[in-house]
Amino acid sequence: MEITSNTFKKNAREALADPALQRAMSHVRSGFIDKRARAAAALPEFDEIRDTGRDIKNHTLAHLDLYLEAYEDRVRSAGGEVHYAETAESALETVLGICRKANAKTVTKGKSMIAEEIGLNEYLEEHGIEPVETDLGEYIIQLRHEGPSHIIAPAVHLNKDQVEESFRAAHTDLPADRDLSEPTSLLNEARGILRERFLAADVGITGANFLVAETGTSVIVTNEGNGDLTQILPRVHIVVASIEKIVPTLNDVSQIMRLLARSATGQDLSVYTTFSTGPRRPDDPDGPDEYHVVILDNGRSEMLGSEFKEALRCIRCGACMNHCPVYQAVGGHAYGWVYPGPIGAVLDPQLIGIEKAGNLPNASTFCGRCEEVCPMRIPLPKMMRHWREKEFERHLSPATARYGIGLWAFFARRPRLYQWATRWAMRVLANGAIGKGRYTSLPLAGGWTKYRDFPSPEGDGRTFQEQWAARRKSA
């Protein structure tokens, strides 16, 4: 996937000027937020479970090496194989190796952000294997050659007419008079097409929401059932998951399960939560003959020792982006890489480098709503600020901004000089707006006055400090 995080400002401007996108984004504002609030309110223990969820993840991360070993033992004893991949390249080679051994021509895929992160589809295509996305949203964006714009609702940036257009372009034997104007007919069309692909696939690739150390189990959560058809029909099931998906026990999973769907879609539980342990057993009538887990690091082990380690608690529910005013305004593609929104602003600089993703942690008003709703209580604004510190230390922030802050700080550190300077500045500013109370344009504040008026200082521009000192003197 091409990285365009560097042009975030341009991406955002285009997104704001795109009426179709703006129409689609209104569904995010109206849908996810109220549903989450209702689901959370309906479970009195919700906030307490957020605490235990956070504690479970912290405990697991502090013993991650040992839980990985325990998990691996269990998978092997259930007849599955575990493959470690330090980098995206290593994960891709491992997956390709398994597919080649299975003589695979087509693979079906459950929705997996890790697969997006490592660019699995492009890689398989380059090597002559056809990947078929089966989550409805993922299928739609695959037809459109787009990346996901949201981590749980990948096609949330699209409207139904755009979906119809894509289906008509891709499903060439579709009669022209077939009505596809409603979401139901679109869903049925996709169901029919994908059913054949499910039954024909040689390999099924899914992600994992959890890897359970106690039992060597991978867990996926879906509403459509596509992940299940992906993992039970083909001969080979490959799970791609990153190291922080480990959770110690089934009871621990149960805690976090109670948070995931409520935070994501406002459901009490997603429709299908499926626990898979190894390949089919000797007498099983169905299920895959082979079961592989590819465990990806891709920079996370380093993150574990950094100020960003709390971001490894993330369970990919998407609540942070749903509640983010910036995400709501510009959508996910503007962020320019796989993970958008507040969690993306923390993860992307780690995964693709702060040089490429520096814009993202800056594009936040620090309103704190992401942290407020994060089921894992990840302090996202604090982490975005840590990235800003790193940028500042490494002189990556724009020179004009650094110069501006430096000049401002020079005065802010010297109260007497500051008060002298501001007295004059406010007088000038007040004089310039006599009779109007505000400016419609102002030099050096073009960003502001392009869209808003700028209030002039109250009255004659005498500062509070100046007036206070005068009152004290006369008292």
């Binding site: 106690e214 059932g225 459901q267 950094s306």
Partner: protein, 222 residues
């Protein structure tokens, strides 16, 4: 060095720990063996009969339908009735589950075929080993007599669950499963099913029947 060694080494460096720390190992073993429960919502902690009511209420809330019969012998008639009422063919596909196999299907007009599904069966019938009242969730396990494909490929999925197997919470189900399959062991597939398949990927419009069953009917026995 293998990717495995590299990753585990980097994790230990980041955590500033070494492999010989027996204290850490003991903590991990204790958690895996002790499997402490976290916070279990009060919602499901009810006497048996109320648990069944909550289960039914929650299952209906997520667009499942629920019927109830007094004893296993009554299930075939209830299933036949459901099929008739919904204009569905009187044919079901099921595994060899002993509970279902022991029912008097011959007393009805319902044609029963056995084995996994290849996608051609309109109606699948399964036996859930448990229900969870908290969320109206069914727990289905794979095994020689319980093909997983039946849970996903047919357009209509009928699931039989015994009232006495309806627990208040997930934790109770895990305990029961481990008693049956051994500590630290699960069947190949455990499906937690909460309502029929759905998607909201197009304009956030919720639609039933994405890739899995469009319809989920539960028969509670007892």
């Amino acid at each position: 060095m293998s990717d495995r060694e590299t990753i585990l080494g980097k994790i230990r460096r980041s955590l500033a720990v070494d492999t010989n720390d027996v204290g850490r190992r003991a903590i991990v073993i204790a958690r895996l063996e002790g499997t402490p429960r976290g916070i279990v919502p009060k919602r499901g902690q009810l006497p048996a009969e109320q648990r069944v009511s909550l289960f039914s209420k929650m299952a209906e809330k997520v667009s499942g339908s629920v019927g109830r019969v007094a004893k296993p012998e009554d299930v075939p008639r209830a299933v036949a009735e459901f099929l008739r009422e919904n204009n569905l063919p009187a044919a079901i596909r099921t595994g060899g589950d002993p509970l279902l196999a022991g029912m008097p299907w011959d007393d009805t007009q319902v044609e029963v075929s056995h084995g996994p599904s290849d996608g051609g069966d309109p109606v699948g019938l399964s036996h859930a080993v448990a229900g969870v009242a908290e969320t109206g969730t069914l727990v289905l396990t794979s095994g020689p007599d319980n093909p997983t494909t039946l849970n996903f490929l047919p357009e209509t999925h009928i699931v039989v669950v015994a009232a006495e197997d309806i627990a208040g919470d997930y934790e109770t189900v895990w305990d029961d499963l481990q008693k049956r399959h051994g500590k630290g062991h699960l069947p190949r597939t455990v499906n937690l099913v909460t309502g029929p398949s759905r998607s909201a990927d197009i304009e956030q419009t919720l639609l039933l029947g994405a890739h899995g069953p469009r319809r989920l009917h539960i028969v509670v026995v007892g």
